[in-house]
Symmetry: D3
Subunit: 196 residues, 6 copies
């Protein structure tokens, strides 16, 4: 129950990486461990977060997407649970709670997305993501058609696929290297917001 690869000292990191980490710390109040765990390999760190941002913050690369921020985090939480990745379920479950403004939804999709309080459109999205996660070789035209019914176009399907695939990478790195969720994540977004 501890990481297998020690985190580097922040002061030893390349300027761009240290700057980004400090920016995240400023914004979130803590540094999610994934930023420190990958930092020991700067080239991989840069590629990982560039890929992450291209998929999870498409506007940062000048792209729009029909998937909402909540949709994206829901894909991550659901497929990471299928991969039994502690770091990603806990960290992205926290962000999912915040975006969807529904505290129970993260635990629901992590345990059994078929029982979750989500829309039929999101349910279809998760069915597809789960097939990409566990049986990508069996994805066929009928799976695309099932998403088109709910208004997803082929760019959206690329997004669902790429997010699932990217976090499959992340899940494997986190599980094998012993990446652990920061304690802050367990509680984030669990309180329903008081109405003004």
């Amino acid at each position: 129950m501890s990481t297998r690869y020690p985190h580097p000292d922040l002061n030893t990191l390349p300027d761009d990486i240290r700057a980004k980490i400090l920016e995240v710390q400023e914004k979130a109040g803590f540094v999610p461990n994934v930023f420190l765990a990958f930092a020991r390999r700067p080239a991989e760190w840069r590629a990982f977060f560039a890929y992450h941002d291209a998929l999870m913050a498409p506007e940062s690369v000048g792209r729009t997407s029909n998937l909402t921020k909540g949709d994206r985090e829901m894909i991550v939480t659901t497929t990471s649970a299928a991969n039994n990745c502690l770091y990603c379920v806990v960290a992205h479950g926290a962000i999912l709670r915040i975006y969807e403004k529904k505290p129970p939804v993260a635990d629901q999709v992590a345990v059994n997305y078929r029982k979750a309080d989500i829309s039929p459109r999101q349910r279809a999205m998760l069915d597809f993501a789960m097939k990409v996660c566990t049986d990508s070789d069996k994805v066929e035209d009928a799976d695309f058609a099932a998403l088109h019914v709910h208004g997803f176009d082929d760019e959206d399907i690329w997004d669902i696929t790429a997010i699932t695939a990217f976090f499959g990478l992340s899940n494997r790195m986190a599980s094998v290297t012993g990446m652990l969720p920061n304690p802050e994540f367990y509680l984030m977004g669990r309180m329903p917001k008081a109405k003004a």
Copy 2:
């Protein structure tokens, strides 16, 4: 995302069942849905909770057990997650947090008990419980021996087996009948207790 079997009116229930439900409500502040879901079949309700109490509160039937309350809830949470049972993971995860006084432990064992912050003895206990949950036909003497190493005796092993088996029943009933966790469970036990 709603139960398939409507809950009966409390006033229509047999006295013993209604009394027990009111007692639980008094103590917990709400009635966990499992008490209402089973109440439509009084004979099954009585057998289910008698069995539950015999295993989870052995002192109530004049028996002692080397498993702590936390051990027992940890078995329930871990194996219910393997069965993808939303009700049991959320409800028993809440109780586990309270007994173990470690808020993150429920999410940890639910996602990947191999990464959880638990003792080697608890790890061995969960390895055995998971084998009972998914491959009970393959349990052999070597599995008993692995528990003996950690100080578990054959009565403890009966307990681990019976708890896993009983909640396997509960998981199947909850998933098929559409039993949903009360909203209260999601948040229970998540705040670390302030020190006096």
Copy 3:
């Protein structure tokens, strides 16, 4: 190939349990081992058999069911075979042969229920039971609808689910504790009844 937990001496058992065991012996000519195996834990014995009777002999608790005795034993035999539980396949296969009056049917459903000489209604019942047994988290409305087509109502579906779930408990207890079928069961009900 012997039980891991010795059977208690009949004389040391509580009166209600000993009386029931003697009654069973009187009726069947022998004591099925499950009665002795559980007796070392009286509270669990009582809950187990109360639950058993509520499901398998609903008239004993004032309930009627559209499932026949044969239907119920067929569910037990089929799902116990999926769990590779020697005790339950042999013991309940015997009872199934007797109720269905078709000696081969128990071996058929135990090996491959898709090849068994049963009605389409029973086939649908077993398809559902097998899903409850192995993938209860994936049971959905379409599975209920498939049973409605054959005239099963939601109470019947509760019965199928509960019987499968209860014997999933029994299967795990029997396999792990080393419960072995009494020799008598292997042969019971195998002779076609002579016609008068």
Copy 4:
């Protein structure tokens, strides 16, 4: 629940096949369906039974084997159960009962060979056969070594492998073509022999 391929008329069969079938009928009192099911394709019939006899009656081809007749039928029954083949479990289970002179052993190995009343040598033999049946690509030197410990030599291991592989063929043919066990098999060998 009926064969998908009609049996040919005995009179239309080539002489050698008809003669063999009549010989079997003379000896067994009935014609096991496998002889009729394959007869519609004489060349396959001849190859199938030539292979069968070379493995199951090695003395008929001038070979000796350290496996007993009971060992061989035990392999067939156990692996056919893993393949859920009704015909082979019922027909070869019958022969197994006769050779081993232990009526319960066929049901035991079919349901869970780990619980069967067999020797440690037979247990090791079945462990290997099951790996050949389900994971032949993973068989390695350590699996051979585990059999050597029990006195099996490499010729015996070839036998275990070939019997498992041959009945894997038979299982698939029987299941897909709808081959059904003759009623006689269900009861054969179930009565313990009276002692003289």
Copy 5:
């Protein structure tokens, strides 16, 4: 990475077997290892190749089949890949390339037949073959109907089933005994034929 059973000296073999091996060598330029590996057991050798020829060269036993030579080798390559059998994938992949006159097709069906450049009819044929290979107990009328749609009749379905079943035997023998593909197979049929 070497066979576990030494090949016999050609001069020690029975005349019929030696003659056939020399004939194959004459025709192919080398002796495929399967001919030598089985030759240590002449009776099994004869049955194996008689069965092989009855299925793969039906005209040799006076039967016609609607499956082309390419269809048959495609079934072998695809299902052998599912069984991870090195010998059969490499050897029959080579023959498949030659018959289909499409060098890439063998690698395609071995890795993922759903992505292969084959006809819808062949795709349906492989779907059925794969079900026979991995889940023969679940083959039902609907699977037959799916083939009828593509013009396959029940004799063709027997062929698909028997080829899959026979090479399942071959796969298990090859993997366990350590049969290795001759080096020649890896390259055979990979060059597109120059057009005249």
Copy 6:
């Protein structure tokens, strides 16, 4: 059997991407389809290839690795075969043949790496990679220890993990988007080099 996402026109691509593609074409004689398939999303293209190069050409980012080029391609080919990814098995199998200078090795690891003609050190490496590929949540200290025995250090293990994880991403993208191997790959590296 065609890609689901059309390739963009080379002239419409950003300069850096077009330049890199032309450089690859110059060097290899053709443009591997992965370069064109990802190019429709420039930000993802850049991140993907930056990550690829950081892992597969560590010297390009100023890092050294104890894994040889052949080791790395062997991990890719083996785990891509486990994921049934046609593009990666064919393309990286080609590169593996070239680096290892053993034409058969790519087909061997793709079909069954346990039968491949590789060193015990490479075998241990592939055992670990396969566990990362299919059961990353179960990787534990013992798996690290098994690699240490063969001289791999923890940086090497990070490499094995990251390569497996990255190509798991690539496999899912290729399979879902319908990326097909260029015809050139099927034949590359299959001819043993003539000795000078």
